[in-house]
Symmetry: C2
Subunit: 460 residues, 2 copies
């Protein structure tokens, strides 16, 4: 929830990043930091993001640790990780002590291990123990996404007593993300959840045990992030408690954390569909790293292209006799790829929305064949007309119609099915569908076009 100090003040404006950079270049760190302190943390974070990487650690190191920690929450995550690699472990530890526990664990997980150990050695024992506990969870699981920032009260209190407890912890609670209180017994087991709103609106003598929901939905720390997102999307919870097998409350995942995770996943998906296989490429990364991440995929594409090329090579003599066919091949390939990728997109989206199940491939196949038939007929007719006008050959026109038409039907059917089949066998449809699709459609399309051409060669 939003405290007054978290509201952006319209009189504060974003500073001139060039001025900031000039001050830092001249070593006038205190002046530069002085420009950032009065800003909303989100605006300060935006300015720091635009600075050259070497200045970012200097700025963070010269802010008060609690302000630095707030700014860290607003920085893009890749900037945070790179900056923490540069920070003095003493200063990094001071900032992480003030940061949210899930952020702390994420950073410690993603920086080089000896750096992380150096920072952990500088945290106090309790803090380091929590950090190590968090590090044990997979970053993309409920355990990795949860935070330790929640209020727990015992079940025996009245509403009035609970409010008194909360008031005594006012400063701390203000910073906490959401409007729930967790009812936890002396063994640390979760007994129920009370909304702040209920506490505000109820009779002061009501007991917490009466007010609380004794059967809240909980998740285990091992639940994968994708599952968690589905629960948030379906039930619109604002936060979900993460509970150990034995019933102990471990932390809470907020809707915001879950949706930020989902957003990251979908950003990554765009890159993966385009064949950037590992992680989130940004132009700030070193060129060699960026080039080699992309090359991985392009090398695979070369291998896949060999299938199509081999088909064409096999019909070299046909092409020598009838070079017009070579004009047709890229059209067959491109129309198949385009029509098929539309079907891929619909399937990927329907899977993501839970509107189709991986086993429903017969229904999908039927529907896509219908669409493919219609579009294949229309596209085949258009290309045939073009071929006829160009060469005046009805046989070439017929060949064009059959090649483009059949390949479109095939591409649409295969494109619709592939994501379902891949999901069924636990592959990520976003990564693998398009390359498989183009390989299959090029191979079949070229084979069809060229084998027909070689058979009809004397009739053209």
């Amino acid at each position: 929830m939003l405290g007054p100090d978290l509201v952006a003040d319209p009189t504060r404006t974003t500073p001139d990043v060039e001025l900031l950079e000039a001050l830092l270049d001249q070593g006038r760190t205190a002046d530069a930091v002085g420009l950032l302190v009065p800003l909303h943390t989100a605006d300060a974070a935006a300015a720091i993001t635009e600075l050259p990487p070497e200045h970012r650690a200097v700025v963070l190191a010269n802010l008060e640790p609690d302000l630095a920690a707030e700014i860290v929450e607003d920085l893009p995550y890749d900037v945070v990780v790179r900056t923490f690699e540069d920070l003095d472990p003493e200063i990094a530890a001071a900032i992480l002590k003030e940061a949210k526990t899930d952020t702390e664990a994420d950073i410690l997980q993603d920086i080089p291990e000896e750096r992380a150990e150096a920072i952990l050695a500088r945290l106090d024992v309790a803090e380091a123990a929590i950090a190590r506990e968090m590090l044990a969870y997979d970053e993309d699981s409920a355990g990795g996404l949860m935070g330790k920032e929640y209020v727990a009260i015992p079940p025996g209190l009245t509403s009035r007593e609970a409010v008194r407890v909360l008031r005594s912890r006012r400063a701390e609670i203000r910073e906490f993300p959401v409007g729930y209180i967790y009812v936890v017994d002396s063994h640390g087991k979760l007994r129920g959840v009370v909304g702040l709103r209920s506490l505000l609106l109820c009779d002061p003598d009501a007991t917490i045990a009466d007010l609380m929901n004794p059967q809240p939905v909980t998740v285990p720390p091992t639940m994968p992030g994708e599952e968690l997102v589905k629960i948030f999307r379906r039930y619109h919870f604002i936060a979900i408690p993460v509970v150990h097998d034995d019933g102990r409350l471990l932390g809470i995942v907020t809707q915001e954390d879950a949706l930020a995770f989902e957003k990251e996943e979908s950003d990554e998906e765009l890159l993966q569909i385009s064949g950037i296989v590992t992680g989130e490429e940004l132009r700030e990364m070193p060129t060699l790293q960026r080039a080699s991440r992309r090359l991985y995929w392009l090398s695979l594409k070369i291998v896949l292209n060999v299938a199509g090329a081999a088909v064409i090579a096999k019909y070299e003599s046909t092409l020598a006799q009838m070079a017009a066919i070579a004009v047709l091949l890229p059209i067959v390939s491109d129309m198949g790829g385009s029509a098929g990728s539309q079907a891929v997109a619909v399937s990927i989206r329907e899977l993501a929305l839970d509107r189709v199940r991986p086993k429903e491939f017969l229904e999908v196949l039927g529907k896509e064949i219908a669409v493919g038939l219609f579009n294949g007929l229309v596209l085949g007719a258009i290309v045939a007309l073009g071929a006829w006008i160009w060469k005046g050959s009805p046989m070439l026109a017929a060949l064009a119609a059959i090649a483009v038409g059949f390949n479109t039907i095939l591409a649409v059917s295969v494109g619709g099915l592939l994501p379902l089949v891949l999901r069924r066998f636990k592959f990520d449809p976003a990564i693998a569908s398009l390359p498989l699709l183009t390989t299959i459609t090029d191979f079949c399309g070229f084979l069809l076009t060229l084998s027909l051409a070689s058979r009809w060669i004397d009739s053209f």
Copy 2:
């Protein structure tokens, strides 16, 4: 915020959709509806979504209007719109009266106009006036996304008095989305915002005027949804008040509404990138409609393909003499398309994350040329090696290296730039980048390959 009744009860389970469908087929509507009533609304919505369209309106019509309205909030939006087209206007009006105002306006906007008018005529005067006011805003603006579900109190009260007001409206407030109270003067102008948490934790004699944040961030009803999403992403607000030019509070947009809007936009983007230009295709739509939506794009691709085909046709005599070149063309085309679309994905993502500005095209160009050079050299070498092994011709190998290498460099540079240029000229980079890219790279790649081949033809 989540009331206890909104918590999914683990003892309730999703019903057997086949049983549900069988009951509805037999006209046993009451029995079918009886299976849905005890469920969490999200689970009931999931079951209704899986029913054949003709049964959905029957089910909704036979539920209590307030329960139907809650289920409507959880149904996929395309299902809601189609179902409201089938509902009796009397029943539709009864359900919409209980629904959230932004949902009501969205539905009335997206069903056929005479249907909407028939429903509006059956709402009471005040309700219809609010609906018409909401209808005046663009669906994708702050006005279209906002709801009227908020609590307003006058500024003169003490905290104790404010709590008394809230208690008297307890039932209504429970259903409201977030933990804020809006301080509004006698002219309806927004004076400040108070968090429920502050109200709970403060001294009961504190005045609302002291507790409130007197300068909350507000947005005008005309603000586009994309801008709104950026504000939510940047400042992590849970809700933002929508305020008229004259200072009157019109409604509030919640973070959840804004993020749902963003999610819809990004789902739509996946389809647009694949060339499904209008709206969100689902397999439930009639085949002819789905096919023609896709055809629009495919027809454009045919026209664009003519550019590449024309280049190949021009060199027909070269191809007849040296059919091996035809094997190379699809590889040149596919490597260019693949390498370029990686650069497109990075640019689109950096634009979305505000990590690059549309005017920074010189920086982007420099960085992409570096990546293109590296990958172009490697890919060119691989293809050249393949060509050499295949035909034993060093000239063919050189041609392959130059064609694939240069085309990759070109494709990566163009792919990186196109989204920035398109955004600069207010086109949507997600839609237009890939087709323009493949047209440019095919045209240039074919021209380069074939013109070199025709010049070197005697050396092979």
